[in-house]
Symmetry: C2
Subunit: 198 residues, 2 copies
Amino acid sequence: MSSPFDPTREHAISRWQPVSSERVADCRVFRVDRAQFRHPGRQVTADFYVIDSSDWVNVVAVTTAGEIVLVNQYRFGAREFSWEVPGGLIDGAEDPIAAGRRELLEETGFGGGEARLLGSIWPNPAVQNNRCHLVLIENVTRMAELAWDEHEEIESLCLPADEVIARARAGEIRHTLTLTALFLFEPFRRKAGSAPAV
Amino acid sequence: MSSPFDPTREHAISRWQPVSSERVADCRVFRVDRAQFRHPGRQVTADFYVIDSSDWVNVVAVTTAGEIVLVNQYRFGAREFSWEVPGGLIDGAEDPIAAGRRELLEETGFGGGEARLLGSIWPNPAVQNNRCHLVLIENVTRMAELAWDEHEEIESLCLPADEVIARARAGEIRHTLTLTALFLFEPFRRKAGSAPAV
């Protein structure tokens, strides 16, 4: 029997077919399309709004002292300050790991170390067409002065990995992509005085 | 010294002030606004696009056998099938736990058990103004026939909690809100033959 997690298996549910798409709004960092899909069995069509966005990257950067680098920004959607791991938009065909290193350096001045991809997930598959790549970079060090984007003001802080995870579970970190990054990072975190718990 | 996680403390970064907002698009399940904010120090204004949405709820439902209830749907943004925990939009002033119970019952037929709020997080605080409430319901049982919304076709599956977490970390579950729900659920999961590991 094929795995229920195999997307190519025969499904009891239907894979709708995209028919056409019309741009509704261009909002700089994203665009809104009205897309028509056809149901393969019932031969009906329906319109759904889709947010078109480039892929994103988020970075769990761990210093040589075992601390995670966090950033705090004012967020215009939530109208609140938010502690998060560094991240941003991937430029065109930029490699996710290169993009993660670039965002980390721009936002915090940290660099170096060994990078790997933790996973590639969907920020909102119901409505958005993009993915977010989650990157782990171990043994980063402070390498450069900060280079914020226009309208960016970013505070940064390094805290022990276990404290970051505890604060996240206690509700002090609320950005879902950071929480997902910590979920995927958790098996890799180094216990004090022991080998990596992979 | 106040905690860096206290949003009311004095910040090195600035809390922008919302000035005005104009509706750009109405897309049924969300709306797009162009919002003007003023920087309190520099006295400049800037426009940012904000997606207005009602709050969402996602539910980690654990059966009396210790299995998590998952649903699989075709997702029009990602154009793929996606295994997730049940969830949806909160209706107006509906209580998050009541909304979670309603969505769980509609999508899977499961109900009953003991519910608690795991946390309330931001799906996308940079651009969206809504929160997602993550609810844990323990000891659910199958109670009703399915009642799908229009255009919904939902497959469901119960798997042991540890298997769900392992599959999520292996990349077989990719929806960030489900991954965040599992992150917040993890300390509550019951080990076989032991007390809850809270």
